[in-house]
């Protein structure tokens, strides 16, 4: 982990330089292309498919993939392709909101623990306690407590992933605070708040970005697991996990019902991981040497 911020005193690489490095890596480029595809499909779904995701057509239920329904239709005759696209909206929305929530909360907790030593012990023990539960288990329990809306999922998964982000941010902060420029700022009388905001935070952005990408990927998988167990977003929403859960009983007759959303999910998570890997390599010279 410490390797990630070895070049910390320099400001984070400018965006264009970062992109250039990313594009040079084939896997990362592939990941970005897939993500762009998913994003476009999610955003432009109403214009790309002629069906609304909730439109039922009982006569043509469980129809195999054909020209009319490229990915077939489900048990209510709803178009699977349309539902996969709208499902991308739900998964991406949840992923982004969870990343934002856990990124923000995790940064605050991590930077405080790393810089304000008095609080470190307590904050890290709480983090350890939260991380002692497997993701999915903590999420199930929180969902049972919270309710079943999309925002409840975001809060539950945000709570699950905050400790992970906090860990990374604290690790980075611990290394940074020993460095000369931070000591110099302290010697010049900068307060805790200013040091954290001006000197630490910008240098933590790289590891944070990498961690967020992986959190995004993990969120999509955990959210699907929650939906599958019936503890996720309301079953009325065509999330990928709900589609797989709903298609489960038809798998013998209509395996596209679980393969289509499953492959969408795998592709998205794979792309996120590829981008995350690429980011890590591009931002971290030590790891770059190895690849």
């Amino acid at each position: 982990m410490s390797g990630m911020i070895a070049r910390a005193p320099a400001r984070a690489a400018p965006l264009r330089e970062l992109l250039r490095r990313l594009v040079r890596r084939r896997l990362a480029l592939f990941g970005m292309l897939v993500l762009a595809g998913v994003l476009i499909a999610a955003a432009a779904a109403p214009w790309l498919v002629p069906y609304a995701p909730q439109r039922m057509d009982i006569v043509h239920r469980l129809a195999p993939p054909s020209a009319a329904h490229l990915l077939g239709s489900d048990e209510f005759g709803r178009d699977v392709l349309a539902r996969c696209m709208y499902g991308a909206r739900i998964s991406l929305t949840i992923g982004l909101l969870v990343v934002a929530l856990s990124g923000l909360a995790g940064t605050i907790v991590g930077i405080t623990a790393g810089y304000v030593r008095r609080l470190d012990g307590f904050l890290m023990r709480v983090t350890d306690a939260m991380m002692a539960f497997p993701d999915i288990l903590l999420a199930i329990a929180l969902m049972a407590a919270l309710g079943a809306s999309l925002y409840d999922v975001v809060v539950a998964l945000g709570a699950v992933y905050t400790p992970r982000v906090a860990r990374v941010v604290r690790g980075g902060t611990l290394v940074l605070r020993e460095l000369q420029f931070v000591e110099a700022a302290e010697a010049l009388g900068a307060g805790d708040w200013r040091v954290m905001r001006v000197h630490l935070l910008p240098n933590l952005l790289s590891p944070l970005l990498v961690q967020c990408t992986f959190t995004f990927a993990a969120t999509i998988l955990t959210e699907a697991g929650l939906s599958f167990l019936g503890a996720g977003v309301p079953p009325t929403s065509p999330s990928w996990g709900n589609m797989i859960a709903g298609g489960q009983q038809y798998i013998g007759r209509a395996d596209w019902l679980i393969f289509a959303p499953g492959l969408c999910m795998v592709a998205t998570v794979l792309a996120l991981q590829a981008v995350g890997d690429g980011l890590r390599d591009a931002l971290d010279p030590r790891l770059r040497r190895l690849t």
Binding site: A129, A132, L137, A217, L221, G262, L290
Partner: protein, 309 residues
């Protein structure tokens, strides 16, 4: 070392508090679930009183913490068992499942990782890296559903779900664990591949490995004797990290395969609002996780003399 243990106790105390809070903010009533949809509020209240669900929250918290400290986990509301008995009855299955899954993850992950590192940059390396990343993107429940459909329902090679019949030997039971273990093991092998590869690359770049090569040792000997031995502490670390993934995977997969293990127990306990079981299972699972990580740390120190606690 002592500080490490003290820290662990604090973590367990916090874990227990988190468990209590979560269990008590979950709405719903175990008495209502037991009585079913046709029961009236009066029936439910009568049963609640009989089950002793009426005490105030601070009282329940104190008695819970006291009991948890002594590992007295109480009586399940729904099952005709104590929580300890319920966990003990289901633990062997979950342990077996996790162990087999770990064996699959390590057995697949370590050789592939070592090979990829040794043949760095080759087509083999790229294929291994790509496959590992794909495996890490697979939801275990989805893999499980697919395995059931093909291996059990269509081809009749392995049983559909559940656990062996009463009185069957351990081998008969093993058949029921094969598909679930694959479903849990494959996604978790990915992390091991990647970590093994990275640590091997690290070590292969070190001077003593170069020296060994210069001495004229064959590549196999260099890898096994020098490089791998030093990379294994790293692998141990990642195994510690994977435990959480394995346990999490087991929880969902037990539900997919209807395996009567701890994961299944805790999911149904949440649905039935069987609070003592929810609390006990969460406590035991997270406790196991904390202990395993402690064990990994200790092993790590044993394997690498530079590390001290």
């Amino acid at each position: 070392m002592l500080r490490r243990l003290a820290g662990m106790l604090v973590v367990m105390f916090l874990v227990a508090s988190v468990v209590f809070v979560i269990a008590h903010v979950i709405p719903g009533d175990p008495a209502a679930v037991m009585l079913g949809p046709s029961a009236t509020a009066a029936d439910v209240a009568a049963l609640r009183a009989r089950l002793g669900l009426d005490a105030s929250l601070p009282v329940q918290y104190l008695s819970f913490m006291r009991a948890a400290a002594g590992l007295r986990l109480g009586q399940s509301i729904f099952l005709d068992q104590s929580v300890t008995a319920a966990l003990a009855q289901r633990a062997p299955l979950t342990l077996q499942l996790t162990a087999i899954a770990a064996a699959i993850a390590v057995g697949l992950g370590v050789p592939v990782g070592v090979l990829a590192a040794v043949r760095r940059g080759s087509l083999l390396d790229q294929a291994a890296t790509g496959l590992a990343m794909t495996a890490a993107s697979l939801p275990s429940f989805w893999v499980g559903l697919t395995l059931i459909e093909y291996f059990a329902v269509r081809w009749h090679v392995l049983p559909v779900a559940g656990y062996g019949p009463p009185g069957a030997g351990p081998l008969a039971h093993l058949r029921y664990l094969i598909l679930p273990a694959i479903a849990v093991g494959i996604p978790n092998s990915a992390l091991i591949v990647r970590f093994t590869r990275a640590s091997m690359l690290d070590v292969l770049g070190e001077d003593y490995v170069r020296t060994a090569r210069a001495k004229g040792l064959g590549p196999g000997a260099v890898i096994m004797k020098h490089a791998f031995r030093n990379a294994r502490t790293q692998v141990l670390t990642v195994l510690g990290l994977t435990v959480a993934g394995l346990i999490g995977g087991a929880i969902v997969t037990e539900t997919v395969f209807g395996l009567p293990g701890i994961g299944n127990l805790v999911v149904s306990a949440v649905l039935r609002r069987d609070y003592p079981v929810i609390q006990g299972a969460l406590l035991v699972i997270s406790g196991a996780y904390v202990l395993i990580n402690l064990a990994v740390d200790l092993l790590y120190a044993a394997l690498d003399p530079r590390v001290r606690y």
